[in-house]
């Protein structure tokens, strides 16, 4: 079969596969919460939680273990901690949002 290369932007699935959670990712609550954005300057600093680059040639893995091995496991910080942290941050954000709305709507 003749194989042709398609530019990156031609398949939406291929694009979505990449852009949603790969590359530089800022933890979701910042992105979905508008109030969260100004937290960066006001009360929070940006912290690099993890950096992974994958510069090894992954061995062929079949359908049994389809996710690549190097570093894949260490990629995610422990989720119970994150969940708890998210919960508390969301609560803070909601509080801030309410406060802000009150002041802007005066």
């Amino acid at each position: 079969m003749a194989v042709e290369r398609a530019p990156g932007g031609t398949s939406l699935i291929d694009v979505l596969d990449r852009v949603l959670d790969k590359g530089i990712v800022i933890d979701a609550w910042v992105r979905v919460s508008l109030v969260g954005i100004d937290l960066i300057t006001v009360e929070a600093r940006v912290v690099v939680a993890s950096i992974d680059t994958y510069l090894k040639y992954s061995e062929a893995v079949g359908q049994v273990a389809p996710i690549s091995r190097p570093g894949a496991v260490s990629e995610l910080p422990s989720s119970p901690d994150l969940t708890a942290e998210n919960e508390s941050l969301r609560a803070q954000l909601a509080a801030r949002k309410r406060r802000k709305r009150r002041t802007t709507e005066e």
């Binding site: 079969m1 003749a2 194989v3 290369r5 398609a6 530019p7 990156g8 932007g9 398949s11 939406l12 699935i13 291929d14 694009v15 990449r18 852009v19 949603l20 790969k22 590359g23 530089i24 990712v25 800022i26 933890d27 910042v30 992105r31 979905v32 508008l34 954005i37 100004d38 937290l39 960066i40 300057t41 006001v42 009360e43 929070a44 600093r45 940006v46 912290v47 690099v48 939680a49 993890s50 950096i51 992974d52 680059t53 994958y54 510069l55 040639y57 992954s58 061995e59 062929a60 893995v61 079949g62 359908q63 049994v64 389809p66 996710i67 690549s68 990629e75 802000k100 002041t103 802007t104």
Partner: protein
């Protein structure tokens, strides 16, 4: 209030001035929490009487990627949004974020938006090594972006060096399962015999069918692993790194990404095409060049300052 926020040249609008003042006050808010509380109330007093809503709506910055550049750059009106806005750079030392102005809203990953995000990355990538940003990251001001670049400077700088002059290519391999099953039946004597038994046997064929299914599954598995291993091997010498993602759907046997240096791009391309000739029963979906999405994962989080 010492700092002013650089703005890209834009036709001035009468209603803008109030909003701009607010923004300046905004950037003055950096610093201790008490100072924040004070200037914050000031800020809101400024903002309320202005037609501030609409002004706010033009002031966010959508970030596409991070590159190394000391020169301000402009990439044309490719930005995300209703009317394509100018894509330009925000700098900190020798690195820069590629951004465009956007309303401060959560951008939905619609077809249009997602493709625009990718298109900007593709354009920037032609001349620069990029670390792609995941979709939907909006900051309020240039200062916020500089703060991001400053805080993660070492990480960005290091990763930019590692990714220098490298692209990602995607390769998905699919097969026609039924066709392969027929092939296996022809080649494997045990399976052929079982199939014969099932079709001629009187009475229950339950166990024969179970066994047939198991053998076929195992044979399919072995064959797909063999193909995938051979394809990875064939591409090893023309790429820097590879990653194997989970295949999607039951026709796909391989869903991989390869990191390829710019000077090996043609060799990689030629090799993929050779493989395509060699495995004429498989279907190849070959895409790229992409920014190295599959080879970089920088997770940032926000931490409360003291």
């Amino acid at each position: 209030m010492a700092k002013s926020v650089k703005k890209p040249a834009k036709p001035a609008r009468a209603s803008k001035s109030a909003g701009t003042t607010a923004r300046k006050a905004d950037s003055g808010r950096r610093g201790s929490a008490t100072a924040t509380a004070i200037s914050r109330s000031k800020l809101e007093r400024v903002r309320v009487p202005s037609a501030g809503r609409r002004d706010d709506a033009t002031e966010g910055k959508y970030v596409y990627c991070v590159i190394r550049s000391e020169q301000p750059l402009s990439f044309g009106p490719l930005g995300l949004g209703a009317e394509p806005s100018e894509v330009y750079t925000v700098h900190y030392r020798d690195i820069a974020a590629v951004v465009s102005n956007t309303p401060i809203v959560v951008q939905d990953p619609t077809r249009e938006n997602v493709l625009r995000h990718q298109q900007v990355n593709e354009t920037v990538m032609q001349k620069h090594t990029v670390i792609p940003m995941s979709f939907g990251t909006v900051f309020k001001t240039n200062d916020d972006i500089m703060e991001l670049l400053r805080s993660a400077y070492d990480a960005f700088s290091d990763v930019l060096k590692k990714m220098q002059e490298k692209f990602e290519f995607g390769l998905k391999v699919l097969w026609d399962r039924d066709h392969i099953v027929r092939e296996i039946e022809e080649e494997d004597e045990d399976i052929r015999r079982l199939k014969g038994e099932i079709s001629t046997q009187k009475g229950s064929t339950y166990f024969a069918r179970m066994q047939y299914g198991r053998l076929i599954d195992a044979a399919l598995q072995a064959r797909s692993e063999r193909y995938v291993a051979e394809i990875f091997d064939a591409l090893r010498s023309v790429s820097v790194a590879s990653r194997s993602n989970k295949p999607i759907g039951d026709r796909m046997i391989m869903n991989a990404a390869f990191l390829v240096s710019r000077d090996m791009e043609q060799a990689f391309d030629a090799r993929v095409k050779e493989i395509g000739q060699q495995y004429d029963k498989l279907t190849f979906k070959y895409t790229g060049p992409w920014p190295p999405y599959n080879f970089v994962n920088i997770r940032l989080k926000l931490e409360r300052a003291h």
